[in-house]
């Protein structure tokens, strides 16, 4: 209690006494202590959970977070949160928080001083590098890494150690979004921003249950519809969800056929001449790549596309295979519905936003489907102006800010690709390492990283802020792989998880507002928060863990940051990588002051619409658009065909399995399940069946159901016509529940271009468990 609070309390006590004497018999409420709702200090932070990046105000009292409200000053959520955001601070206070380091001794994890654990991590790194080479060690982080976490990880592994074995779980979450942006525009991340919502007339959701997964943006969209009658929300999905209930039109398609539907829409746009011809002439070039590109099911699978330039006539001819009547047979979507969608995109009076997230990203043709949706926006010129926006949403708070912008992927550097000599030189200069330290070839992407651990090519992995023993597809192979002899697994986390269970060293992490940091959200917005409460026990931020280990490995000179100012020092060092009008970032001081700033941030101005010379300082003036990412200064329309998924329902495994999320839980539930209100609302995973299928198997709500794929089997309670309803012949299971691991069943096939696995499609059989 400070002096001022003390004075207030003393004054209060005196006044009560006085008042009681004045009016005998009337009791007066005791003065509110500083713990009362009024005695709180409110501090700004982006939400800990999804990629929307809502601004929160955290109520702090006596070194504890005690309340939350939406930040009215945040341009993202304007004062509204979802149920996870409102309860986010409870995630700090699970009774089983990791407060000390743990080291495996004689097969058991036992508490140890954190310095001993950090010594062991550093010595194991050095030992493996000496014995097996620098590519025998790896770090695997996540889209929940703060920007300084990811930056230090990249600098230590790519700059100091000299291996490209750096990945983030965002590979499982939005790698296809990145390769989609790169192949079409030559630069990553959306051209538009959330303000597109208030400017659009039509919203088309491509396989995206926004009502549960991006609820705050969904509410913003419904508010737009309320204020502007005639606004349409179209839900184009494989399953009926809460989003379908709010949509004006719900269109169901069979898994994987979104590729054909997008091509059919393009076919119709051309047939009706609903094209923006001046835009096409000035800003678009046409391309095609390899076909029959495989699925990555075999170890050491490699793929390189061979793009070739084609002309409009060749593109038009290739689309002849995608007449709506033909696509109807493949997709189950009536031709008139396809024409309806084409009519919405093609109407020059309507501004159209397309939203998508995991449906298009977790897809064995994930890069292709992104290209195909961009094609539609490019054919109609509906891009990079207010309300015309193909918009890729993200699921993690800093998938964009850290994994994509800092480049914590095997092929990336904070600026550019590892294969690009200029990018390597820039990194070497800013990091202060010889350019020869930075390896010019990508090594292991996430699935291949875990395969290499299983094979034994990789001996050491440090996992931070993620839970791969719940999230890897075909989980058993990778869990068995990590448990093998001579694999050293370090896990930094805040709670015990199935991943810490198999670790050799567990480092307790400071979480979110227990340290200072920055996240970058889906709309290129960077958000800073300060440290608000102390971490428990010996818990230490992931950034500082990396710095401590770097120093112990002899790289102290590269990590000479001071404890009080290290986040500022790291930020100012990092933002040099993005200097220039195309990606200029705000200074540390500006980030501290404002509830988030969008890049490019030039002369104190945020860029809301990239490639639009009216808004984007990097775009050449004199035209409506300038796509400066590609060498030909154009956006690329790609012809990409429909190709079937690697595994489809058959006689033995007759059902499609789709996996996903629920509004209450975030990712693997390691945080949200420790929030009582969220756990009680959604205590366990379930299997959703169509009522007709349930009837056929005599399965009632709550009955135990056995799901089996070629890779594994689990039991789940049935949920029929509650949260959602899959079509007949399909089932849906959420992945948050560590005791009902649906990833035992999923397939580790991935998009050959992005290397992102497809969690949305594999074949299973359904049995009523007795």
């Amino acid at each position: 209690m400070n002096r001022r609070e003390m004075l207030i309390r003393m004054a209060g006590a005196a006044a009560i006494t006085a008042a009681t004497e004045l009016v005998p018999g009337v009791s007066f409420a005791a003065p509110a202590t500083t713990d009362s709702i009024n005695g709180l200090t409110w501090k700004k932070a982006p939400c800990r959970f999804c990629g929307t990046g809502c601004g929160l105000l955290i109520g702090i009292s006596n070194n504890r977070a005690v309340a939350v409200k939406g930040d009215p000053a945040s341009a993202v959520n304007k004062g509204l949160c979802c149920v996870k955001g409102y309860h986010s601070v409870l995630a700090l206070y699970g009774a089983d928080r990791l407060k000390t380091a743990l080291i495996r001794k004689n097969g058991k994890l036992v508490p140890a001083p954190i310095n001993e654990a950090l010594d062991l991590v550093a010595s194991k790194l050095k030992e493996n590098i000496a014995q097996h080479g620098k590519d025998s060690v790896a770090i695997y982080g996540s889209g929940q890494w703060t920007i300084p976490d990811g930056y230090c990880a990249s600098k230590l592994f790519k700059g100091a150690i000299g291996t490209n074995n750096v990945e983030g779980n965002a590979r499982l979450c939005m790698a296809s979004a990145v390769t989609g942006f790169m192949t079409t525009f030559g630069l990553d991340e959306p051209m538009g921003c959330y303000e597109d919502i208030e400017n659009a007339d039509v919203f088309i959701l491509w396989g995206n249950n926004m009502a549960e997964m991006h609820p705050v943006l969904f509410s913003r969209m419904l508010e737009r519809r309320q204020q502007s009658p005639g606004t349409l929300v179209v839900d184009l999905a494989t399953r009926t969800t809460r989003t379908s209930m709010a949509a004006d039109r719900s269109i169901l398609f069979l898994p994987q056929t979104d590729l054909a539907i997008a091509n059919a829409i393009a076919y119709e746009l051309i047939r009706n001449n609903w094209l923006h011809s001046t835009f096409l002439q000035r800003h678009v070039s046409f391309h095609a790549g390899k076909t029959n590109i495989g699925y990555g099911l075999e170890d050491k699978f490699a793929f390189t596309d061979e793009p070739r330039t084609i002309d409009f006539a060749a593109y038009k001819k290739a689309l002849e295979d995608y007449k709506p009547e033909k696509v109807e047979k493949l997709s189950g979507v009536p031709a008139r519905e396809i024409r309806y969608l084409a009519g919405l995109y093609g109407d020059p009076k309507k501004r159209v936003v397309s939203f998508w997230c995991m449906g298009m990203n977790q897809h064995t043709r994930g890069t292709w489907i992104q290209n195909l949706v961009y094609n539609i926006h490019l054919l109609t010129g509906k891009i990079a102006t207010p309300g015309n926006s193909p918009f890729s949403l993200t699921g993690q708070p800093s998938a964009c800010g850290t994994v994509r912008e800092v480049g914590t992927l095997t092929n990336r550097l904070p600026h550019g690709e590892v294969t690009d000599p200029h990018s390597r030189e820039m990194a070497a200069k800013i990091w202060g390492v010889p350019v020869s330290n930075i390896a010019p070839k990508p090594t292991l992407h996430t699935v291949e990283m875990f395969r290499a651990l299983d094979r034994g090519d990789l001996k050491f992995i440090w996992i931070q802020v993620t839970n791969p023993m719940v999230t890897m597809p075909k989980l058993k192979r990778y869990r068995d792989g990590l448990k093998k002899e001579n694999r050293f697994v370090v896990v930094s986390d805040v709670y015990p998880t199935p991943t810490t269970d198999i670790a050799d060293v567990v480092l307790p992490s400071a979480m979110w507002i227990e340290r200072e940091g920055m996240f970058g959200n889906s709309e290129r917005r960077t958000q800073h928060w300060e440290k608000m409460v102390d971490p428990p026990g010996e818990a230490m931020s992931d950034t500082w863990q990396l710095i401590e280990v770097a120093r112990r490995m002899g790289h102290g000179k590269l990590f000479a940051y001071k404890p009080e100012t290290h986040i500022k020092e790291i930020w100012e060092e990092y933002r040099q990588f993005h200097h220039g009008p195309a990606h200029e970032m705000a200074s540390y001081d500006e980030l501290r002051q404002r509830p988030g700033i969008m890049w490019p941030f030039v002369n104190g101005k945020e860029t809301r619409w990239r490639y639009n010379p009216k808004h984007d300082p990097a775009a050449k003036p004199g035209d409506t658009h300038h796509f400066y990412g590609k060498p030909d200064q154009k956006a690329w329309i790609w012809f990409r065909p429909y190709e079937p998924p690697p595994e489809m329902p058959d006689k033995d495994y007759p059902f499609w399995l789709n996996t996903g999320r629920v509004v209450e839980h975030w990712h693997t539930g390691s945080m949200t399940r420790r929030i009582p209100v969220l756990h009680q609302a959604m205590p366990n995973a379930y299997v959703e069946l169509h009522p007709n299928d349930a009837k056929r198997f005599n399965i009632k709500n709550g009955d135990s159901v056995r799901l089996t794929s070629r890779r594994g089997t689990i039991l789940l309670p049935a949920l029929i016509d509650r949260r959602g309803r899959p079509p007949e012949g399909q089932v849906f299971v959420p992945f948050f529940d560590e005791s009902k691991l649906i990833n035992e069943l999923t397939l580790d096939a991935f998009c050959p271009i992005s290397k992102q696995p497809d969690y949305k499609k594999c074949a299973v059989k359904v049995e009523k468990a007795l």
């Binding site: 207030i8 004054a11 209060g12 006044a15 009560i16 008042a19 409420a29 003065p31 509110a32 202590t33 713990d35 009362s36 709702i37 009024n38 709180l40 109520g59 504890r64 005690v66 309340a67 939350v68 409200k69 009215p72 004062g79 949160c81 979802c82 149920v83 409102y86 700090l92 206070y93 699970g94 009774a95 089983d96 208030e198 400017n199 549960e212 609820p215 969904f218 509410s219 508010e223 502007s228 809460r242 209930m245 709010a246 020059p348 009076k349 207010p386 309300g387 509004v663 399940r673 420790r674 929030i675 009582p676 209100v677 756990h679 009680q680 609302a681 959604m682 205590p683 016509d721 309803r725």
Partner: protein, 226 residues
């Protein structure tokens, strides 16, 4: 009489001028290919102020509505028990009418205007923000009372129900107003917890008397005063 005519004409001209100028301003910002976005020109509401007058006209009709014999009243402990901390979104204490629908068609059927719900033997609480219809993005329904792991979270203390500074004086508002700026929703009518039910719901401008940020007995001090 002539005077009234000139006033009327002047008024009509002013209205016309406002409309014409307004259109001209709006047209200047428009992209020729696309219609204007209504909400872009709409001023953003001030979140903590927007709701004070919402449905305040209903207040008068609540004046004499009190629970009848055998109709149980709500009390503050139950009100707070539904929330993780003061100001947190309450959980849904009853079965869902329709698990799949948006709130606009199900939740608001009862929670927009409230009233006696025989099924639950209770008066229905009224939402302070009926414009938000994806209700279950914030309000969840507990399936059971189980616990995954115990928590050590300690919520902010609930504010004591304030009394006026002197007898008869209007108490100040002891809570934040975000998402709860519509006073009558929680403080008016038979569903309001007894402890916080207003005696005068017909007075619509609540905050002309009840100020925010109650910090009882915090003394005024002059900056730099002697």
């Amino acid at each position: 009489m002539k005077r009234y005519w000139s006033i009327a004409i002047a008024a009509a001209l002013m209205v016309a001028a406002v409309i014409v100028i307004g259109h001209a301003i709006g047209a200047g910002e428009r992209d020729a290919r696309t219609p204007a976005a209504a909400s872009i020109e709409r001023p953003l509401p001030i979140l903590t102020e927007a709701g004070v007058f919402e449905r305040s006209s209903k207040g008068a009709s609540l004046k004499d509505v009190k629970p009848g014999p055998g109709q149980p009243e709500r009390h503050l402990p139950a009100y707070y028990a539904r929330r993780s901390y003061p100001g947190g979104p309450p959980a849904i204490p009853h079965d869902l009418v329709d698990d799949q629908s948006m709130g606009g068609k199900s939740c608001l059927a009862c929670h927009l205007d409230g009233g006696w719900a025989p099924k639950f033997n209770a008066f229905t609480p009224v939402t302070p923000h009926p414009e938000l219809i994806n209700c279950r993005s914030c309000h969840v329904h507990p399936e059971n009372k189980s616990s995954f792991q115990p928590t050590t979270f300690q919520p902010a203390q609930t504010a004591a129900v304030p009394k006026g500074a002197i007898p008869g004086a209007p108490p100040a508002i002891p809570h934040e107003l975000d998402m709860r700026s519509n006073c009558i929703a929680c403080h008016g009518g038979p569903a309001a917890p007894v402890e916080i039910r207003t005696t005068h719901p017909e007075r619509s401008n609540c905050r002309q008397c009840h100020v925010t940020g109650a910090r009882p007995f915090a003394a005024f001090t002059r900056e730099g005063g002697q």
